[in-house]
Symmetry: C2
Subunit: 251 residues, 2 copies
């Protein structure tokens, strides 16, 4: 049984806690959170780093910019401390403890359950033994546990920004554009879903369709006329150009 302390109880901390609660083999022995009136049934909660209990693993699930500070403040040494961030290097953790990474590659929201089994967990550690412990723990909750170093993890995180943050922003731009023109965004939802499901089995290169790919200048010009906002036209042009380049057609 691996004992775990979760430090930080935002979206990632809460989802991890939930996932560990549902399996045997791991036990969350304490949660650190500054939130008062948190009720986790049998799991003790503290809001003081001084009161952290002993455990096999400390998971720092705090915002990127305070990971380093938090790890420096831990009142113990030579224990295994990991963080959960995609973009923060392992080196940012304090030298006082044994370092590692436990990065679940997913977007977590309050009130939106996710199936942890499908979430890739990217692991790293300085010592082989620690890596084994981290990966075994990952395998309790996920079917996709991989070892990946800090540089590759940051590159993966960058790619995740493209498919998650940027994609979601394209959804927002569409939503906003349709609202202005009194058209229901719900009409696009099945298309949004299908676009994401298609690339689960087809490569995005093969899945590409649309006016930019087929060099349909007429439709592209009509679209440009229908965008009153300069920013939309600019993004439309850049992305259209990038698609044409990818598919070997000059516009």
């Amino acid at each position: 049984m691996t004992s775990v302390v979760i430090i930080g109880f935002g979206n990632v901390g809460q989802h991890l806690f939930q996932a560990f609660e549902e399996v045997s083999g791991a036990s969350v022995v304490q949660v650190y959170s500054r939130k008062e009136q948190l009720d986790l049934d049998d799991t003790p909660i503290t809001n003081s780093l001084q009161d952290l209990t002993e455990a096999d693993l400390y998971i720092l699930a705090v915002p990127d910019d305070i990971i380093s500070d938090f790890s420096e403040q831990l009142p113990f040494s030579n224990r295994l401390v990991v963080h959960t961030s995609g973009s923060v290097s392992m080196e940012m953790l304090s030298e006082e403890n044994r370092k590692g990474i436990f990065y679940p590659l997913q977007t977590f929201s309050k009130d939106h359950e996710v199936n942890f089994k499908e979430i890739p967990i990217c692991c790293e550690a300085v010592y082989e033994e620690d890596l084994e412990l981290i990966m075994s723990l990952g395998e309790l909750i996920s079917d996709k546990v991989v070892q990946i170093d800090s540089e590759k993890r940051t590159r993966l995180h960058l790619a995740a920004v493209f498919v998650n943050n940027f994609t979601n922003h394209l959804y927002h731009l569409s939503d906003s554009y349709l609202k202005k023109n009194d058209i229901d965004f719900d009409l696009l939802k099945p298309l949004i879903k299908e676009t994401a499901i298609k690339v689960q089995t087809l490569s995005p290169f093969e899945a590409q369709t649309g006016p930019a790919k087929r060099k349909d200048r007429k439709t592209i010009n009509k679209h440009l006329e229908l965008m009153e906002d300069r920013e939309y036209r600019k993004l439309y042009r850049s992305l259209t150009k990038s698609i044409s380049k990818t598919h070997g057609k000059k516009l």
Copy 2:
């Protein structure tokens, strides 16, 4: 029983044929296709427009740029002829027949089945009676049939380009970037799916996360350093700027 002739048997034509085959209330009495050796069991096929049989509705499921030509070549008049395109105006159809639109808002691929019930069908017609026939036909195969005029349909199609073509291209850029760095694109697939599923219930504005939204200059700079390709950096910058603007934060 509404009798239908499908003209053109590409992705849209084939998926429509399949959908009509599965319901009672509509019957595809003929398919026009230039493909030889097509076998549709009981449905007659022709490759000559001169041999088109009589029907309540003719669905032109041909590429955008030949819709107009095809409609001009039909050897009859005063019948109901619709096209299935998102971006071609109803006016492009020949004056010889009664015009209409039957636009299923989805991306269709060979060998990838879709659930037609979920696909919005956008309808338009010159005459009220024709509109009723088109919409009733749509309701046989879909739970979401709406009336929408040509201008709004084109705007909807433009928004669809953002959430489908552009989004898929972002998937491709990630795929390509990861390949170059020897990282498995499969790791992003659960995130891609979750991003699309999240906005089925949450607005994309609420769903937004990431460094651009939280004004995380450090991560943004690190990402920019990790992109060797100028085009990637340019797109990253434009989209990051657009997100910051949307969420009221200057970078």
